[in-house]
Point group: C2
Chain length 254, copies 2
């Protein structure tokens, strides 16, 4: 039990893996990269990499995110500057056999990003893409495509992705995080389509509008209007300062 017994300090490699979620074409999508080396060569995996010796975990996640996407994310719990995406720690995965090469503990992080142009690969080109979450997690809510299931993600990344999606789904209920999926200025309808895509449900546009505009601090008017969705021009809003929603958004049953 002496903490100075070297046999009590087995060396670990520590990595960060990223669950980067966005909403594209009314579907929840995750960023995946193609592995260039074994193990799992050629398979899709979550982006990630090793934590450096003098680097905080959140900083490592932000660095990997920037390398993979060019995004500058901001962990609200850290003083680092940021714009655009939301970043938070998700969970840590440390099964002794999760990486066949060695003992690797991975601290997974969750990133919520607005719809982006085509992802830019870290080093190799055309090796990153947005994958529909339903395709990789199986049929959900009847949205799953039949047949053509893609190969499972490498390592335990399917489990990590599932945990990240579950976290996002529950967190937009009681926080204003859904705005992280939107551009800086957005309409109530765009925000509603985010909720619909993440939850896989249809929401009543009238009640949704009352709810979000009536929750203090959730949205602040940005001044202009837009007609980019067709129909009557919609007011533009920015995310308000509130982070916790009271009362919460209610996810319809089943």
């Amino acid at each position: 039990m002496s903490p100075y017994d070297p046999s009590a300090f087995p060396p670990f490699a520590v990595t960060v893996d990223l669950v980067v979620l966005t909403v594209r074409r009314h579907a929840l999508c995750a960023l995946v990269v193609r592995r260039g080396e074994p193990p799992f060569q050629g398979r899709w995996a979550l982006p990630g990499g090793f934590v450096r010796g003098d680097e905080d975990l959140a900083a490592a996640a932000a660095r990997e995110l920037a390398e993979e996407t060019g995004l500058c994310a901001h962990d609200p719990a850290s003083p680092a500057p940021g714009n655009g995406a939301h970043l938070e720690q998700l969970a840590t995965y440390g099964d002794p056999k999760r990486d066949p090469r060695m003992r690797v503990v991975s601290v997974a992080h969750l990133v919520l990003a607005p719809d982006l142009p085509a992802p830019r690969a870290g080093g190799d080109a055309n090796s990153a893409r947005w994958a529909s979450v339903e395709d990789h997690l199986g049929q959900e809510n009847g949205f799953g495509r039949e047949g053509e299931q893609p190969a499972p993600l490498a390592f335990d990344h399917a489990r990590i992705l599932a945990d990240g999606v579950e976290r996002a789904r529950s967190k937009i209920e009681y926080s204003s995080l859904a705005t992280a999926f939107c551009p800086p200025e957005f309409t109530v309808g765009e925000l509603r389509r985010v909720y619909e895509a993440v939850w896989g449900v249809a929401l009543d546009p009238r009640n949704f509008h009352r709810k979000v505009t009536g929750t203090p601090g959730f949205l602040v008017p940005a001044g202009g209007t837009t007609t980019r969705q067709g129909g009557r021009p919609a007011q533009l809003f920015r995310a308000g300062g509130a982070t916790v929603l009271n009362p919460p958004m209610l996810r319809p049953e089943v």
Copy 2:
């Protein structure tokens, strides 16, 4: 960027730290141990220890818990057997300077336990105790004692404890986890006192009774009654199978 460059694999020590919470004498308490060696010798700290080379993170947390308390905890996400306490992963702390000796990444776990006899120390006697959470986190809701602030916990353990308490406070809202603070059979009043201690509020006994007995799957009658609280005998209940509470328990404002 080659993943086989040894300089990209800085070695880390990986530990688990435990936030073990219980309710004693109508107060939320956390298990703390006194450190026997530097750094922070003589200061209180959260229990914890190094993860072994072939050990899963949850298994390491359960092992440390058993060593410190004799409790057999059960992580619902793992197939390990267990009785009594609830165990779940909390968060991971990896600031490069959090341990002055070396680079240590600590995977904190949260344990919710029923009121226990005096804690049993791991190796040294009388080096573990239940500490009131208010004493270590400062005044909360007017409960904080004035003067006599104890020395801060070692390392970043005050932050870890605060995160664990916050997790427990929010999780008993929408899950049946509050029963983890109760013995196997308990009364509605005892469960109410758990909520009151964890949240630091007073709840209406009548409405609370209706709420918890009316939530399907939360409580199942155990058959007997008890008068251990004085007054009219109260029915005994066991925790039902439900893990998620719908509708949730509502925490009063402020």
